[in-house]
């Protein structure tokens, strides 16, 4: 119980009759990069809004730094940096002025402004009005804003939305660097590949329900490939090469090139007709899609 930096219990949000988030129990440990994955409309932003107190849960509890968010909101938020959905900014102010206005309230040294602009590589436009920025630049400014007060917990809701591939790589490197400094990071995305490349733990949300939550390596373990062999005699085939039978196919999970060659030779010697030898790739992607599909048909 005391080991989680963010923990929610039965977190639920109803919009009228529509359940956007249902009984979500997030468990996020200090120092993790927590990848919060789910298709569009799954309830990621709604969950994040509740973590920040922007929206009141219909039901359930949010505990951050072992404190009840409802009771200790200000103390908690002092150590949280966030970027929710689209970047927030004042269009008529420059990048520097946008940071200055936050700096006044957060009461951090002025020098920190140039530091964070440097981190997101916006120093060259520090004195330009933000209304002329590209989406990618606004997104980076949003991250700079979130980092201004050196938060212990960083919550980034789809921070790479609208970025070009180069920008995405840059943000990824920045996030990794921040994690190395010990900051706990929650990053949401609707793209598995994005989360897979960066997260240490993954939480998958679909239709408002948290359907999976574990380390990224545990998720990878689900994604083992296997070799399917179809012959005219399933039972004999299994006796020869082992593995498991599913319908008229024998599957084995340990196979390198040499083994495959040996299997085929053995089957041929035993006068078995080999129809197909296929590698079935259970990519992470396929597993993810299957999870989502199951959740959506419930």
């Amino acid at each position: 119980m005391m080991t989680y930096i963010v923990q929610t219990t039965n977190l639920t949000k109803q919009f009228d009759k529509y359940a956007a988030v249902t009984n979500v129990d997030l468990k996020i440990k200090e120092g993790e990069i927590y990848g919060f994955l789910g298709p569009n409309g799954a309830g990621k932003s709604t969950t994040i809004r509740m973590l920040l107190g922007l929206m009141k849960p219909t039901r359930g509890q949010v505990t951050i730094f072992n404190q009840d968010l409802h009771k200790h909101r200000q103390t908690i938020l002092r150590q949280v940096g966030s970027l929710v959905e689209n970047p927030s900014y004042y269009p008529h102010l420059t990048a520097k002025e946008n940071l200055e206005v936050l700096r006044m309230v957060l009461d951090v040294p002025k020098a920190r402004i140039m530091e964070v602009l440097e981190m997101v590589r916006l120093t060259h436009v520090a004195n330009k009005k933000v209304k002329g920025f590209s989406l990618g630049m606004k997104q980076r400014l949003g991250i700079a804003q979130a980092l201004l007060h050196q938060p212990r917990l960083l919550i980034l809701d789809e921070p790479t939305n609208g970025l070009d591939p180069e920008g995405i790589i840059e943000i990824r490197q920045l996030i990794k660097k921040l994690a190395e400094q010990g900051i706990t990071i929650i990053i949401s995305s609707h793209l598995l590949s994005e989360i897979d490349q960066i997260a240490t733990t993954i939480g998958i949300i679909a239709k408002g329900k948290l359907i999976y939550q574990d380390s990224i390596s545990a998720m990878h373990a689900l994604a083992k490939n296997r070799l399917g062999i179809r012959t005219n005699d399933v039972n004999q085939t299994q006796q020869i090469i082992g593995g498991e039978v599913e319908g008229d196919v024998v599957y084995c999970t340990k196979y390198n090139n040499r083994q495959v060659a040996t299997y085929i030779a053995q089957l041929v010697t035993a006068n078995i007709d080999v129809y197909r030898v296929e590698e079935e790739k259970h990519s992470l992607e396929a597993i993810f899609l299957q999870m989502i599909e199951e959740a959506e048909h419930k």
């Binding site: 927030s88 004042y90 006044m104």
Partner: protein, 244 residues
Amino acid sequence: MIGTLIKAEWYKLKHHHIYAILIIGPLLTLLIGMLNPMMGDMGAYHPWLSLFLFMNLPYALLFLPLITGVIACIICRYEHQAGGWKQWATLPVTRTQIYVSKLILIALLVLIIQMIYGLVIFIAGTVKGFDVVFPYWTVGKFIIGGWLATFPMIALQLWAAMHWRSFAVAFTINVVFTLPSILAINSERFGPFYPWAQPFFAMYVDESMSGMLFIPISQMLLVTGGSFIVFLVLGIATFKQKAI
């Protein structure tokens, strides 16, 4: 914290030509006063009194409430534009502090407008060469009285400007409440209870020049103070409940 928040709000007004907005009400009033042909025919009266009669009316009845509404809209507009509310609400401050800091800034800006107005009438009378000394006390009283009388409007307009993204909607509400004041001040039964008419009553100067008259002070406090507290409490409650 409130002090810091007010400073930050003031900082956000950068590049907004706020000085032009502060000065426009008093200047328009001056223009109307100068164009009024009756201004010259008031020889029998105290010269400052006739100046107040002609200028305080359009100022307190129209320009002051309208400009107050415009300021409330501006102070919320940049929050509506690109997720400002969201960012402001994730700072380690309470929603009440955010709301109240905006309210106080509007009130301070209106006070500046009132002082500019005082200066404008002083200059107008001096240029005209009034031979009677400037009634500081009377002017001071109606400037402060008029200012206090705008508090309910400030609270309601902030509430509206916060709630509706559209500048047009918030401003229309402002106009819709302001215009009936013209009728309200002519009604002895209804007028004293209409919040938007309060600046007019507070700035109405009669022949005795003692300021703050026309309706009893207790009643004005009740109407102004009462409606201010109601609008303020409702505004804060709405903002606290608002899902951002």
